[in-house]
């Protein structure tokens, strides 16, 4: 078993519904061969630098576990094609800390 943390940044002009759709879409893909432990929405944050002509972005954060590396690849492949997404990051962990939320205040 391996644990992963996955974050992607959506464009700032997405509506709440569209963001929810995105979350559902990718959590379904992960749930096929893994298990989502936690999803966090960090909300609209300022980007430090311009990324693909965007100054702000909507951050969504997953914590999940899978046995296969395939699921990560599958998600990443689909994210690269998606026009609504600016950037993503996946990090592998041996252990996950589920309690701490660094962006809890911004998600009001």
């Amino acid at each position: 078993m391996a644990f992963y943390e996955h974050t992607f940044i959506g464009k700032q002009d997405l509506s709440n519904k569209e963001v929810d759709n995105l979350v559902n879409k990718y959590s379904e893909i992960i749930n096929k061969s893994g298990k989502i432990l936690k999803t966090e929405k960090w909300g609209l944050l300022n980007l430090a630098t311009k990324i693909k002509k965007n100054r702000k972005g909507i951050f969504v954060h997953f914590k999940f576990e899978t046995e296969k590396d395939k699921t990560v690849k599958e998600v990443e492949e689909k994210l690269t094609v998606d026009n609504n997404i600016i950037r993503y990051l996946t990090v592998k962990y041996d252990k996950l800390d589920l309690k701490k939320e660094y962006f809890a205040q911004t998600t009001k």
Partner: protein
């Protein structure tokens, strides 16, 4: 000469961490601030912590200035790079 010294003290020359002309009198902490008990976890999501260890222009500060231990410095470097990818720092 005396005046010059006073001026230097008032100026922000020493405040800049990357300045080469640091006073020998200024002593740095010897202990690593991240290896103490109850130290905050080094993580790319912990922006408050990471901001302390980069310069104004976004460079990673060397451990000889911040007195971070080797192991923690390595963790910090990867954390900072990850935060930069996401545009957090």
């Amino acid at each position: 000469m005396r005046r010059d010294k006073k001026k230097q003290r008032k100026g922000s020359g020493y405040g800049n961490k990357l300045s080469l002309f640091q006073k020998p009198e200024v002593r740095f902490k010897k202990n690593c601030p991240l290896s103490i008990k109850n130290a905050p976890a080094v993580d790319y999501k912990n922006i408050k912590l990471i901001r302390r260890y980069i310069s104004d222009t976004g460079k990673i500060l060397p451990s000889r200035i911040t007195s971070v231990s080797q192991n923690k410095q390595r963790q910090l470097a990867t954390a900072i790079k990850r935060a930069k990818i996401l545009g957090l720092v």
